[in-house]
Symmetry: C2
Subunit: 349 residues, 2 copies
């Protein structure tokens, strides 16, 4: 090119390597706490957002989704796939990236990897919900499904809820071994269990995070006792659930965005008008969270675009002025905006 | 990091600079012809695609859109904004980028700038449609609206239809001057006109490509004569049209995807069941294009996701094995796909 691209041409890009460096720079638990604070702040101004169920392309072997949202100032979207059989070929079940843009002119201001960031924001959201819904002084969490999301959940529940004892179970014992090793190294008390029934014994919180795209019953009704909080994050598309319907019927159910959760969440098996409480209303004090110690609470989490918006907003603030992002020549920026063709012609060296 | 990211972590990225280098390497008119061939091939297998109207966020000052589509093998989406007042602050009205992914595992295989590429694919689509709809031996095109898209349209109509005489008009004379200068340098016969009425005199094809987001009447009924082909590309969102309704009523109207065009195109002012012909059916020989020399044909183009799919597919093929793309560390790729957390922990140098 005869002249280098102008400032307007560049979009800060956070690679996987830089996201990991940033996470360590901040500290994983501090990152999760700060991220949860951004999510909470955005949930508390829920009516300010344009909201729409994500746009899902159900493709052979999985799903590819776009998750947009916007307030008056910023727009974001995330690209995310979910392909449960990917691990068989050495691929991630979920990969993701996202973009934050200025509403005023539509220009992207951040492009970021979101495979790592989604794991962090999902965990931060779960633990944030639990601060409103889990029994007071919860100390033990059962984790059924010990895949890629498991350890992030554990870190967030310690950072936000003080939970330090984990009871792990996965149908694949190697997944439990992997999670045990990682979490013991992080200072957790870890109990590796040989069945889901064993895992839930004495747990204050039960987290289900399995990845199979089919109706599965990870938890049966007799496994859930009075006072427990269920953090169900694995059921997140049509045909994919984890809990027996009877559990739902005796739980107080909390959701992110009912229009999306009724399609994708555990409650897809209930009547369309089954009462649910929106988490943002609990955070604003407009609806009750946990009311007593015998209540069964269920966070039927499918992940919502505002959580990604908060995560991108947080990352943008963190990387601003640092070396954790690199400039990407993503946007054409002619001297005269109407002269895109002239820019192209003159670009011949 | 202790180890560099693996092959799976990298997504080829085509920057603005590389897109311009690629365009020159191929040659602009050859690029437009080859791109049109990709678009035509995909239009001819239209039923193979998952199709949905684009997802538009109507924000103050403009619109931000996501345009996804997929066949059985590949998935694509484009991010594109439209902010007509952007030029006042030195920004582009339209900026765009896009991603192509493998359906099989959901992994992106190409990230590309699409501001330049959208201008090229829009022009290629317009000229491709004109090969079916414009009068035989068309030699002269009127162009109303001489902004960023104007010259690309001209180049495509010469490459695909042999049109070499242009009659230009814009309410801003400086835009016409800019386009005249650029197009004269490309060897066109250019007539700069002082009104839209003058511009359309003797034209075989009329291209309207203005950018105002409001109901405007760029063409009134008396300006369009028997046998002309109208290529209307500026009306592309609710409330944004360019043609007087009476023109529509006496034209045979061709569209990309009726579900989207009835919301965004010129035909938004007509009854919901006003007959239109889908361009892909013309290309497959299942519907008539131009039938006689007195017919007024109208391509009511709003741009559709399959055109971007074709463009990304073309660019992917062109950059494969060349230096026109660079690897971007966009995807987390742990050794054990379930051990995302372990990868994060071990990433500390």
């Amino acid at each position: 090119m005869t002249v280098p691209p102008s400032e307007l041409a560049y979009v800060p890009f956070v690679s996987v390597e830089n996201m990991m460096r940033l996470t360590h720079h901040v500290g994983i638990e501090t990152f999760l706490k700060e991220l949860a604070a951004f999510i909470e702040a955005d949930f508390k101004r829920w009516p300010d957002f344009d909201k729409t169920p994500r746009v899902a392309a159900h493709v052979p072997g999985g799903v590819i989704e776009l998750m947009p949202t916007a307030d008056k100032t910023l727009y974001s979207f995330k690209y995310v796939n979910g392909h449960p059989k990917n691990t068989k070929t050495g691929h991630q079940t979920v990969t993701a990236f996202g973009v934050l843009s200025e509403v005023l002119n539509g220009y992207p201001v951040l492009l970021s990897e979101m495979t790592v960031l989604t794991a962090l924001r999902t965990a931060a959201t779960s633990a944030l919900a639990a601060t409103y819904l889990a029994p007071r002084d919860a100390a033990t969490m059962a984790m059924i499904g010990n895949g890629a999301q498991c350890e992030f959940q554990a870190m967030a529940f310690r950072a936000l809820c003080g939970i330090n004892t984990l009871r792990l179970y996965d149908i694949d014992a190697r997944a439990t071994e992997k999670a045990s090793r990682n979490l013991t190294a992080q200072g957790f008390e870890v109990v590796a269990c040989t069945s889901a029934e064993r895992a839930v014994e004495g747990a204050d919180v039960i987290t289900t995070c399995t990845a199979d795209k089919q109706y599965a019953t990870i938890l049966t009704d007799n496994m859930v006792g009075a006072g427990q909080h269920i953090n169900a994050i694995g059921g997140d598309c049509p045909g994919k659930t984890e809990l027996h319907r009877d559990i739902l019927l005796r739980s107080d159910i909390f959701v992110e965005y009912p229009e999306q959760t009724r399609i994708e969440g555990e409650i897809q098996s209930l009547d369309k008008d089954h009462p649910v409480t929106e988490l943002w209303q609990v955070m604003r004090g407009e609806a009750a969270g946990r009311r007593d110690q015998r209540q069964v609470t269920l966070f039927d989490s499918v992940g919502f675009a505002i959580e990604d918006f908060s995560a991108l907003r947080y990352v943008r603030e963190k990387v601003n002025g640092t070396a954790f992002s690199q400039p990407l020549d993503l946007l054409a920026d002619p001297d005269d905006p109407r002269d895109l063709f002239g820019m192209l012609v003159r670009s011949v060296a």
